[in-house]
Symmetry: C2
Subunit: 518 residues, 2 copies
């Protein structure tokens, strides 16, 4: 056992997890020591075709065997057909004991549960997980190996360093030419930016493109080039276009959320960060995106033009770009049809890889250039640690996303959250699991007040000067607990069902199996 | 000694050259066995700056030491200031025994000669070399190590496999943002596509951007991303814009060249390759580019639309694209201002890396998708072997360029050349040095007749059917030699001053030091 930097006991060894891990030691304390992963060099010949008649044949040719790691990306979100189709074929081929490394997993991927139960899949690595698989893993530990949770930046880092070594990568391509050049923004199942699987394509030993829109070579708009693609399989439908755009990206009309958002905007303005040339990212959903609405008014009134807005891009950000309020959008994942259309048409809407977005172990990432980041949280504790991955019950039901990356990178990271949800306190002594460390969080804005991380004395001074009433986060917690009651402590078994990695590959927390009440 | 596939004696060992080389065995006979090169992983932090006050400081921080390898690219062609400035600084720092691996070397780089003579530079790797350095190496062997000549595709291959391991890469950037995102198409010294140093940026242990046009982050049009850039140095001028566009890219007005070009077009038409959706590349200069003029007439008359034209892109190709005669231009190097402008504006003018262009050891390259390639040659022999690197005197004075790559890749490779130049025969028994093997050449068109490689019986049949009079290449040689006389044999010392690698890394020929006449 050792105690990591956020005060969590981390075992020396975690069954089913790599031996050489280190506990989290602070946001920028653990330096990389590795070199980039190698991969086998292959050749091509004139006249060679990559088009394979079906998935089974492509998988055969990939050399996929028991115990290997395969990868997927989640840009098709709830509309994804590719992961399930591939897994069904693999299951039919009798291949077992695979690790599925997805950029994230959505509701669409629940059929994976069957493949886990029958031993086809014995490991998961992902940014997030919800629903049945999460529930079963949390309560019944249906896999021996813990699920490895990584941020979007960390996934690219782990692929580049070989910590996550992918044998076969499956790329869902809304358009793909006959040699494998592809992008995510054309075709009936267009989803926009294709930032997540770029690392997979560069480092996986075999790359299989799965497309429902095969076009003649050459495709002119190339997100992932043919130089990295081994095989191409055409299928009827890679997804359901009605489910690709998520509903979570509209600005809330909930009055409490809007109130929090307006407070947050006032705090940001008082911080002095909302100035000419500033950069900005807002997480999707809840009050987070609504902050944009209020910032916009301030920017227009004061004729402020921002530099860039980054991250998962939604229509709100596209409107900023089109109205000249920001000069660039840097996009790793496009959340709605308006944004996908924008990326196709507007040269200032720039596609980027997950590594460029948020990998701490390359020569620069966008997350480190951010002035302001707005995050949502399911829980926040009095050390400003954030949980966005597990419910208060201990059940896995969320994602890391880019939270760790942007919180560490941004000059000012502000969390917007209601102080309670129903009878559940959001502000608490200790979050159920730490995902994003408090040292990288600066401000919390709730409907019951604004709390500043004590280490940001500069902000406390500025806010006080601007007449913003601040509240100690311990006081806020007491106030909330007086209304909700102190939450019951979860009881866990010793079994570790999830490892929450920090973006640098260290372990920030572990998720244990929930003890079944007798 | 062993005799390679083109009948050339290759020593078991070549002083100053890697030990584990293989002789050329045929265009697609030698399969890659390596894995991709690793490089050390570094981290970045928020607020970090890459801008270094001058070249000397950046070179210090790069860790450059005696005996290392540095790289440059030649997109600024005869207008390049960067290589010379960097070399002067390095010389001033007292660093010695460096290998300079440039994508090519031009007239602008003659000052390198001084650095070779004083021991700063002890090795060269390049696609081409002309002028004083070439002369001095050919006659006086001014370096112990032979110059390694590689095609554009082979250079990317060698970098990816680590055969060419770059310690510090210098990237000349016409525009670069403060984090290192750059492109070649904006700024007073814009040159267009930045295809050559893309591999350097991905695999070099340290990457230094040198720019005269530093702009705020983020640059929206990114050819090489900041994720690969360590340091940025701003200098006054990276080049002389008047010398960046080469003169070699205009269509000839020489009547003999035009006659050859027209014959070549007729041969291509008779081959049946000039059909809907075909792809095409023409080398720059001489009669090669002039073929386009005649093909254009045929395409317009017969309403033929091609798929893509690739390679170094010139205005002639841009006109094809704009007039709808081709759907795409795939551009690794842009030869004139009109083409640079086109790449900036036209989304169907696509920038590609040298690896995507022509590397035989990745999952696909454009050269392998070509239907028709038109090459120039300084010499061609009765086995259809081509020399484009040395003069009949044995002096180095040319380049490999993309010749090996496109000849091997294209369905039909046609060489256009006059049968003699002045009193020098172009068609001969044996070329001075073999650069592109005859097995990858299909047709020779001269003003004295058309010769088809005997292995292409299909073409002989087609041409004969179309009424094209063919001539045996041996007959043509006799006819030419009757006019020019048999060229005198060069006398060489045992010293090898150049190694001509084939695109797969095997040795196709060696260049020996010329024996000084007493």
């Amino acid at each position: 056992m050792s105690i990591n930097k956020v005060g969590i006991e981390i075992p020396q060894e975690i069954q089913g997890y790599r031996k050489d891990f280190k506990p989290y030691a602070g946001a920028f304390e653990t330096e990389p020591t590795a070199v980039t992963k190698t991969r086998r060099i292959r050749s091509s010949k004139p006249g060679g075709s990559k088009i394979i008649e079906n998935l089974e044949e492509a998988i055969k040719r990939s050399g996929l065997k028991d115990g290997m790691t395969i990868s997927f990306h989640h840009h098709l979100r709830n509309g994804d057909f590719v992961l399930n189709k591939v897994m069904d074929v693999i299951a039919g081929m009798g291949i077992k004991d695979l690790t599925v490394a997805a950029s994230s997993l959505t509701k669409a991927h629940e059929p994976l549960l069957g493949h886990i139960k029958n031993g086809v899949v014995s490991g998961l690595e992902t940014s997030g997980l919800r629903g049945l698989i999460a529930e079963e893993m949390s309560r019944n530990a249906i896999m021996d190996k813990p699920i490895i949770f990584r941020s979007h930046g960390a996934r690219a880092r782990a692929i580049e360093s070989g910590e996550l070594s992918i044998d076969v990568a499956f790329l869902a391509a809304p358009i793909c030419d006959t040699m494998g050049n592809m992008n995510g923004m054309e075709g009936k199942n267009a989803f926009g930016a294709m930032g997540y699987p770029m690392a997979d394509a560069e480092y996986a030993n075999c790359v299989i493109a799965v497309t429902d829109n095969l076009v003649p070579f050459p495709l002119n708009n190339i997100a992932i080039p043919m130089t990295n693609v081994d095989f191409i399989v055409e299928i009827d439908e890679i997804g359901d276009p009605r489910k690709i755009a998520t509903g979570a990206t509209r600005i809330t009309s909930n009055p409490k959320d809007l109130f929090i958002a307006e407070q947050a905007a006032n705090v940001l303005i008082a911080s002095g960060e909302i100035k000419e040339g500033y950069s900005f990212q807002a997480g999707s959903g809840g009050p987070s995106l609504a902050v944009c609405k209020f910032l916009r008014e301030y920017m227009e009134e004061n004729k402020i033009t921002g530099s860039f807005s980054s991250g998962g891009i939604v229509k709100v950000a596209v409107d900023f770009l089109e109205d000249g309020l920001f000069k660039s959008l840097l996009d790793v994942q496009t959340f709605d049809a308006a944004a996908a259309e924008s990326m196709r048409k507007n040269p200032n809407h720039v596609e980027m890889s997950a590594s460029m977005y948020a990998n701490p172990h390359n020569r620069s990432c966008v997350a480190h250039q951010l002035d302001v980041m707005i995050l949502s949280a399911t829980e926040i504790d009095t050390n400003f640690n954030i949980n966005s991955l597990t419910a208060s019950t201990g059940v896995i039901m969320g994602a890391i996303g880019g939270a760790q990356d942007t919180a560490a990178g941004a000059g000012l990271t502000l969390v917007v959250a209601p102080s309670m949800r129903g009878r559940l306190p959001i502000v608490m002594d200790r979050v159920t699991n730490v995902v994003t460390p408090g040292d990288t969080i600066d401000v919390l804005v709730t409907e019951r007040g604004v709390c500043v991380n004590p280490r940001r004395t500069d902000l406390i001074e500025k806010f006080t000067g601007a007449g913003i009433v601040l509240k100690d986060i311990n006081e806020l917690k007491e106030e909330v607990e007086a209304l909700t009651g102190k939450p019951a402590k979860n009881e866990y078994t010793d079994k570790i069902v999830g490892v929450i990695e920090y973006r640098d590959g260290t372990v920030i927390d572990v998720i244990r199996q929930i003890k079944t009440k007798k």
